[in-house]
Symmetry: D2
Subunit: 426 residues, 4 copies
């Protein structure tokens, strides 16, 4: 049996707090509850189902959760903020992701999860609105209210620590401005109600000030800004992001590395998506879509490296479309067509049609990011956790100007490496 | 600049001899000629287009052919055996893979490549037959005739060495029998005309006896048999195989590792193929298809490891169909539908439609295998070259009872590792 | 309001008897029960949802069931024969077509439908077997037992008439032999236990002798034989067949007429199917598949008429594959790729991927065929009802040597024509 | 042999004039030239390849061109207007639709077709511009210049009549305003340079004033306006439109009628298109796309009739996307996913992927519309020719407020009906 060399004990209760109590977070919560009850396995979760090969010659692999000291699912407590007052049962019912009969079996547990009032700003989310919102004189006060929520949640639920994972809608694209560039400027901005400070930035700032690790599951610019990264360093808090890598982008970062290894040329990659859930509705606003486009658009450029392989990739035309299409609900569908060329410049095509379920793919990632960033925090890793890139569409890098790696297999190697490095006896 | 630590000089002319002068081998030859003339780049070839990252912090990668001492394309000479008398120009014209106008520009070079008489046995290839066949009293004599062909080709073309790459049709399935189990039994079998000895085994045996490396590009049982592997060890000859990893299987060994890394369950993988070339015609014979089915069928079982991940893969149903469909000619088309499941046991589907070109994908692999096995031979690597698995559907392993790894990314890492290990200054 | 000119009254109870109590027939029965209870609409049923335009200038169309005098759903009674003893509730539960929670709401009604013992012959269905089988000295006696079943069912259930619709598995291919060519030969064959007489032929013969209309929903050779067609004429009984036109063939007879109208050339049509239900299991036996292949294979030849349009269709290569693939259960999937050519001989491709549900598409056809053949019988139409071709893959023709028309739109016009011809006031 | 009852003689030369000398018109011209030379058949053309069944009991069908008196291909002369000065050979070469080696064989013929100066207005086409443009004081003068072009072309080429078929880019969406509502208002508008009068309207007006039939092959609002329809009536000129029915919409109006006949419910139809030719570039401007969206968007609503079938179609969500994607050039690709439901409200999906060639599908339609409207004119049919709807995405109707029928099979029946009505002896 291997042992974790580094981390503080994982016993004690862990609060997992999510801004957003919608399709993704309720599916995450329901899945954890179902796993605790023994109803369903936590399929797709690296921390729960993953294993690591040993170097002892045996073919038998060791579960990740026996290698490092992760919080046990029985010690996890759920909390959330949302602009709607629906509890997790009602929100899950509306989202129609979970089989309704399965949902009934955990109605009681889910009903207990009632959202705290959210910090919301119409400027950043145009297509939806709700009533369960905090009131405050300025954004500084909003951050204070969020900090109070976190402290009280921990205390009221007998937790000894917490993590925050952003599971709310994609905010409008919000490029980095001066107010984001230093902690001082940001604090002034909070006090002056600077319009460039978005709700997701306030949640992140509040969490870090409380010493609570924060992960950004959407493509919003939040943990990306220097003010927050500096604060995380100063407070010795682990942060991660951005944007859960689920359907189409997941497939892209699986297939593209394979084409690259085979040195096939790529002249075009067209990706279209149809989805009918609230995420789709929000992304129907061009400003929110812009955030997504930036996060999704970058994933091919480091894999298809124009500098080293100009003959293969210099003309690559990458186009992404996201379409709100209500008949599908949460059942997203991706369709990609890839124009490649090979020997004698002959053209070929690959088409990938992914009939996926957005929240079903995101939920295990929420769990993994929550448990791994809690482990990182207990292991004294502070600031940006680049090795979490395996789970993310637009991985943060922890060196200035560094380029994120999007190759899923490279990312997996890095993830496994960190775990091995913190473990003895593998 | 890095330098090859190990290999003998690559100067001097290298004969690349292919049993089979059909779609694959003529496309390979035409592409090399086109690259020599500067008409087209050798897209898809690792030895020609591949690069290796350095450890010196630079983003600039170094071409593989600057890292190890590979034969130069200008020093390569082509030879072939075939049951038809068509020269390479005529064979390429029939195969309709190469643009006819491009083919005309290299007519003269291609016409010079005239096939030697082939060793053929109707028992192993039912659906086609030809006239350009050797006559011999027994299989031992056939091997001697092939050895003579090799020696004379080398001499007549001023070569100082050769490699043989099987590019002919898939033989009927031919399980390992006693006659294959030792060199002695095999030699007796040759003399007794044992019906279990197939032509591809005779080609391999002849090459190795001449000290010439041999690679099996089809799924036939040839270099797989102990008699041949033992001979290769004894003669210190490098061998490799089997079955070029091109269309559908290539995609499979790209996508499957990604699903595995993400711990998604897989309950079914249905693959169908349509193709209309001679390969398709041959595979329309159930016995030849059986060879293919065995080679293609195994690629998922090591990636989706039922032992370590029973909850995810224990019920995996993998079905492969190959259909002869003349309207397509060499333009193969693969269609896969993959039934996966995730969080809360929810089902999803991935469909992959690959409009590929069989010979276009195979040709650069012929070149890479030829040049790399020649390099291996000059570097004193003898017997099975397991690290060539990156190019092959059913990679040979060099330890008894070992299981081949089919994960394309694992295979690439091994390939790069061998190259780095034989190079200084990377 | 229009009125039916011809038919006898449709009041009184109608027994719908199905050889086979499996996925198709239980889905049919459950859907009728659900419609009677007002739970779900009978979507896909021409008799229940169809309408006919009027000639009075109004855009408002008139429901089919107001135009002709069809049996009311409340007057329908279900009966079945099967080799398994499962009642309709149990059989439906196994088939997993109907949502299990919906099925529970009609458990009581479904449980009442208990199969009569079947006439079964292992020669005709290889891959399954059961225990609920009749015993008899010879096939003549078997027919007598089936006649008795029909008479008793009608009496016990207070019906005044019945129809029989074959919903059982596809029998092995059974070409027409001498024994099938006359009523006399057939009766002798029954007495001599001629092995060329299949169970489906015995059911048809029994029904017709009872004056009960019969429809063949599978591709077996049954109502196709002269002996049965002659008997139907003599007994003045309406018959129809063969093979419900559901998934892939339905799409084919929709798309092909469109390509034909546009005078696009077609050089290939490749169709593959994956399905995992009992039907798939039976079709995994090559002899049963042969029946299906014949019924599915013919549908393009009258639409793509080589005689009149040789330049467009003379080289058409039509290939059909059916694959048993258990992960899908009843959720059939068809994938077609169509190779077309147009102006300047340029090639194009159409690909159609149909994620369908076999029994869901077949069930309304069972209902329509049952109600329409009952109406035909009451309207004194005897023998082959060619106008039912709209619902069938291999429509019977009522003139010797006639070629069936497979164009769905032509078939619909004929269907509507018959209804108009029998109605006043449209 | 049948005879045309009505039309004036088709002997004498016919000028076919196209605004636009781009991919569509050059492909049309090249195909006619190739047919005249016997190089390729005019596949896809109703007038050249189509046949009509007889009522004499024979299976042999009669060629359309033997039934009615169409202009012979040898009597056709091509002319065009374009904003670029490229002749038809150069334009075809740029468009890359025609195989370059085939194009060379007709270089001389194609080079002779040199565009006349075009009437162009940047307001209506944003994304391209050229130099070969007419100069004029006001739009009235522009119309006069176009009339002069037509008269001179006819005279210079020894023609005795002409037709004009709009083959140029899609203009920006241009709703009907007061200026379009009467001939008088329109003429005033021409003189006042009213900005709501688009170039396509000027071409149509000029042609009709010359007594020359006009067909609109794009979705622009041109022959749709009352001023032009009134003029056509007054001048006894035949007109037709709008928008050639080619790729995705063609498939839609083939498949939708089939689903409708089968009474399957449809809750969503998502259509996406990728194309890389000039048409795609123009449609990348939202105003031009709006024209297309209107023409493409309406085709389902009459087929899926919500009034008569509310249970099946009331919630139908129809979404269309067109994406400019340069890697494909003229090789358009459509991808549709259709969400249907059936018996027991079960959901199913149909996906259609059409790898088509835009101009290859449009070219035979240009020919058919030109020859048929010339025939209509000679047969004294004046005003809107509704029966040409078979070829068009948004068919004009000849009664005020009438709804066009988009069902391809209905349209074909109407086309055949008109031809039969004008012919004797069928």
């Amino acid at each position: 049996m291997s042992t974790d060399k580094c981390a503080k004990s994982s016993t004690g209760r862990l609060a997992i707090l999510t801004p957003g109590l919608g399709a993704v977070s309720t599916t995450f919560m329901a899945g954890v509850i179902a796993a605790r009850k023994g109803l369903e396995l936590p399929i797709g979760s690296f921390t729960q189902m993953g294993k690591i090969p040993t170097n002892n010659g045996s073919n038998k692999e060791i579960p990740v959760k026996e290698v490092i000291s992760l919080a046990d699912l029985n010690n996890v407590v759920f909390g959330a903020w949302d602009i709607f007052t629906d509890n997790a049962y009602e929100a899950a019912k509306n989202a129609k992701v979970i089989n309704k009969y399965l949902l009934e079996t955990m109605k009681e547990d889910m009903q207990k999860i009632v959202p705290m009032k959210a910090v919301f700003d119409k400027k950043y989310i145009k297509n939806i609105d709700g009533v369960n919102k905090k009131e405050y004189a300025n954004k500084y006060e909003a951050v204070e209210l969020l900090r109070k929520d976190i402290r009280e949640f921990i205390k009221d639920n007998g937790c000894d620590r917490a993590v925050v994972v952003w599971c709310a809608s994609t905010e409008a694209y919000n490029p980095i401005e001066d107010v984001h560039k230093s902690m001082k400027a940001f604090e002034n901005g909070l006090k002056n109600n600077d319009e460039n400070i978005s709700p997701s930035q306030m949640y992140a700032y509040a969490a870090i000030l409380e010493g609570v690790p924060y992960v950004n599951g959407s493509p919003n610019v939040s943990v990306e800004i220097p003010a927050i990264q500096d604060l995380a360093q100063e407070m010795s808090v682990a942060i991660g992001g951005s944007d859960f890598k689920t359907g189409q982008t997941l497939m892209k970062t699986i297939i593209a590395p394979g084409l690259r290894k085979r040195l096939l040329g790529v002249e075009g990659w067209f990706s279209t998506n149809i989805l009918g859930n609230r995420d789709g509705e929000v992304l129907d606003d061009p400003a929110s879509f812009r955030s997504k486009e930036v996060s999704k658009g970058g994933v091919l450029s480091d894999i298809f490296d124009k500098e080293n392989y100009p003959e293969l990739y210099k003309d690559l035309y990458h186009k992404i479309r996201i379409n709100y299409y209500p008949p599908r609900g949460d059942n997203k569908e991706g369709w990609d067509t890839i124009d490649i060329f090979g020997w004698l410049a002959e053209k070929m095509q690959i088409k990938v049609n992914f009939l996926c379920k957005d929240s079903i793919l995101a939920a295990p990632i929420v769990l993994d990011l929550a448990l791994l960033i809690d482990w990182a925090q207990r292991s004294n890793m502070k600031g940006v956790q680049e090795w979490l890139g395996f789970f993310l569409k637009a991985p943060l890098t922890n060196h200035a100007g560094g380029t994120a790696k999007n190759d899923l297999f490279y990312q997996y190697d890095k993830l496994e490496e960190i775990i091995r490095a913190n473990s003895e006896g593998l």
